[in-house]
Symmetry: C3
Amino acid sequence: MTMLDRVLALNAAYARALDAGRLEAWPDFFADDCLYKITSAENVRRGLEAGIVYADSKAMLRDRVTALRTANIFERQSYRHIVGLPSIEPDGVSAETPFLVARIVRGGETSLFATGVYRDRFAGGADGRLLLAERIVVCDSGHFDTLVAIPL
Amino acid sequence: MTMLDRVLALNAAYARALDAGRLEAWPDFFADDCLYKITSAENVRRGLEAGIVYADSKAMLRDRVTALRTANIFERQSYRHIVGLPSIEPDGVSAETPFLVARIVRGGETSLFATGVYRDRFAGGADGRLLLAERIVVCDSGHFDTLVAIPL
Amino acid sequence: MTMLDRVLALNAAYARALDAGRLEAWPDFFADDCLYKITSAENVRRGLEAGIVYADSKAMLRDRVTALRTANIFERQSYRHIVGLPSIEPDGVSAETPFLVARIVRGGETSLFATGVYRDRFAGGADGRLLLAERIVVCDSGHFDTLVAIPL
């Protein structure tokens, strides 16, 4: 498999798990030693390091899942990720990939929820599967409903 | 060609035919012996088998095209499918693929029409081309305008 | 690299440059001798040749960038391209590829801006990189905000 095919497979599986509501599977797409952050294009432009969501270990990602389960977010709405074509960086272990997420409110409207890019650095898992050592989610809009900070 | 490349090519051609309004070409993406169904995520969760649209042969798909032509659906609006990255199942002959469909009303608005996943099982055609033995279209929203049940 | 992989890479890089606001990089995706046009599906159906935007050389594309910079379009809004799966034509040097563009207004809403297809003819660059000899952007909707005719 080429690096492109491996990145496509990782992104397909990642989006599928989230959109099926299998949140507990989400941390397993990351290396033990990892960085996950949701931020906005404007924050990046202004050099602001802080993110809306921040986790620097797999354990923190698991805590986040627990919090989301407690908040019952996924009972009232679902999401659909459309992940675009990755640009593999010259270093061969990083990529930038655009995405779009639609939100489907139960018994209601479907709307554009978020667009942006994933800035990823990859690591190899024990079984040869690609893992995320770093995923910085840079959203195009800075308007977030902070109460529903679902994984993107 | 890898299975991934073949699935990408099938989905690209399928979406292209529908969005160009070439409805008559649509049944030819299926095997003679096939199943096509449009349903919702909620119906699947509740174990409801019935779909909004159901066809279990290529002949039924052709009847559907005739019905849609009679209703003149495609004179007033068009659709644009953005088909995402397939997750090829371990069996190598099935896949799940997310999609998003925009609706463009003539002289009017462009809006999000539907999102969901294709649950596909493939068969090989005589010329080596991949065909759909089964395509279950699971829409994220259960709200359909049943009068405009266009192929998805 | 297969032709499919090369087209995917070209489209990924093209969308990335535009969405990052690196407009000056945009003409470099084209061959010196090129055709770029934005038109609508209805104009194509009616056989109207004129486009909303028309450039038949790299120099004209550069002029267009200068005009857009003067108009300060990208200060107030950003765009996100989601480019779909290409259908490579039998000639091996052309493709049709669907796209969707979201518009993100600063401090405001994210909305569907445009959908359509790229009708492309490719040329090989000196370094083996794929270039656009022709990109006809056929938008599904004929409603354009002509004042903000950004590259698509």
